[in-house]
Amino acid sequence: MPEGKVVTSDIDIHKIIDEMINEASKRGGGALTIFIGYVKGIVDNCEVYSLNYEVYEPYASKKLQEIAENACSNDKVIDVRIYHKVGTFKPGDKVLYVLISSIDRTSGIETLREVIEKVKKSVPIFKLECRSDGDYWIISDNLRIKRR
């Protein structure tokens, strides 16, 4: 079943992978495509200390669920899971998981790209990056504005 939500603790990625493969293998599946986003340690040649995620709930989880369900309307996509963590994280901490099980690799990779773009552009989640040269609000994909 497609699932998208904000989570406050780490997920058991191996358990989810096993669940998805077991289920998809009974329905003609042949590919599991996975994206894991984690906190960068260096940005603009500066050390990143932490990345804080602020989330507008319940609308962020609703949007993630909607993205997962819509992606499953593709006949070649069997299941979609999206888990976005909220809180303050250190470099290397995993913060976003997207998993697509599909009939073949092409549909899995294409759907993965589409889902990630939708997560980045349509879910009410906001980032504050704390680094060696100050704190920066991250606006949309690339704009960084130094905190006053």
């Binding site: 602020e54 507008y56 609308y59 609703k62 976005h84 009410p124 906001f126 609000w137 949309s140």
Partner: protein, 83 residues
């Protein structure tokens, strides 16, 4: 009627609070509420030169001529940055 307004990200910094509730005796459109907010916190107008300001009503983007209802929640946000 009561309208709760929430501020997120850089906008929260500019207004100095994350939430405020407005009370109105008459009906009000979203565009009118936004003007009230910008008048109360003029720094938002300056921020708008750099960052688009987006208003969500109960979590959805709406037309600015929308008539707000008692109990509506309006979120004032910059472009999102998940992932």
């Amino acid at each position: 009627m009561k309208i709760k307004v929430k501020f997120f990200s850089i906008i929260k910094d500019y207004v100095g609070t994350d939430e405020v509730t407005f009370e109105f005796s008459n009906n009000i459109k979203l565009s009118e509420l936004l003007e009230i907010i910008k008048s109360k916190w003029p720094s938002i107008r300056k921020l708008e030169d750099e960052v688009p300001i987006i208003a969500l009503v109960n979590g959805s983007i709406c037309q600015e001529d929308l008539n707000l209802k008692d109990g509506d929640e309006v979120a004032i946000i910059p472009p999102v940055s998940g992932g």
